[in-house]
Symmetry: C2
Subunit: 182 residues, 2 copies
């Protein structure tokens, strides 16, 4: 572990403020020239590990416009203004899967693209699920439960291509003692 | 697996074009109202698993401005224009760690934030490393090798908070047969 190299922010220019924000900061690190860095601003969110009554991992398939196609992912979502990660986890699980969690356990968290984006995702294990389908406001999200082993095979086969899904599964496998050196 | 729901892009407005791009697309999905989506455009890149002669996983620590602090991550980097993922992997490993890989094996890949960003990362296992330090152009990146077990403990302890690092380690553990049901 080395001493932190904190820069001074000399200037900050706003480019966009919408669902995400974009700003360009001018930085000076100790002993180095000025540099600029683009920062995509994101409120952060949650990624959810949950199993149905049959023990199948809840996965969702939806069209992802930046990818230009549908992707298979863990349920996830973005924090509403002022919302706690726990409240967001309960809300998003219900919206995307039709289940409410009776219990949440935080497994960890991670940045998705820390070189240029502030998004941080909290990973929760959701248990004691109760079916609770919302009427109306149907999100274009299709539930595709799979066993954990199937999900891992889908990952190996390139059928799941989502970093938060892979990362959250690692945290989950670690939590339950399925990783080396165990 | 359900039928794909491909939208029609009715309009696309450019907000920014820099190291990343930002555009706002107006979409119409079959049977639904128009919607707009912000797309952060990113050229994509690589994330690298490599072990030194002592069998320690190469991790790097660097200041990440969007996080406001230093993070510990796998070596990674962005594709230069026209660059293949393999060439990018060789270049980034050398720039960030001072090693050149004699051999690359693709373990998979994933989107980092497919809800709003096009970034796709190819994950490579780099082997047959040869020391090859670059002169000058020192990146402010500190090499912190750790055993694989140590790296997994750092993840569990919240000392590694990076989705691509967690996701790539999952792909690696899977490749070497360390995950269930094995």
């Amino acid at each position: 572990m080395t001493a932190p190299e904190q820069p001074v922010t000399l200037a900050s220019r706003r480019i966009h403020q919408g669902w995400v924000g974009l700003r360009i900061d001018t930085l000076r690190f100790p002993g180095r020239r000025e540099s600029t860095v683009e920062v995509v601003e994101h409120p952060g969110g949650v990624t959810l590990i949950a199993f149905d009554q049959e023990g199948r991992l809840l996965l969702v398939r939806q069209y992802r416009h930046p990818a230009g196609r549908e992707l298979l992912e863990l349920p996830a979502g973005t924090l509403d203004p002022g919302e706690s990660p726990e409240t967001c986890a309960e809300r998003e699980l219900q919206e995307e899967t039709g289940y409410r969690p009776g219990r949440l356990e935080r497994l960890g968290g991670f940045y998705t693209a820390p070189g240029y984006c502030s998004e941080y995702l909290h990973v929760f294990l959701c248990t004691d699920l109760v079916e609770s389908r919302l009427e109306g406001d149907e999100e274009a999200i299709h539930l595709e439960p799979a066993s954990l082993e199937e999900a891992l095979l889908l990952m190996a086969a390139g059928e799941i291509e989502d970093a938060k899904t892979a990362g959250a599964l690692l945290l989950y496998l670690q939590k339950r003692g399925s990783l080396p050196p165990h």
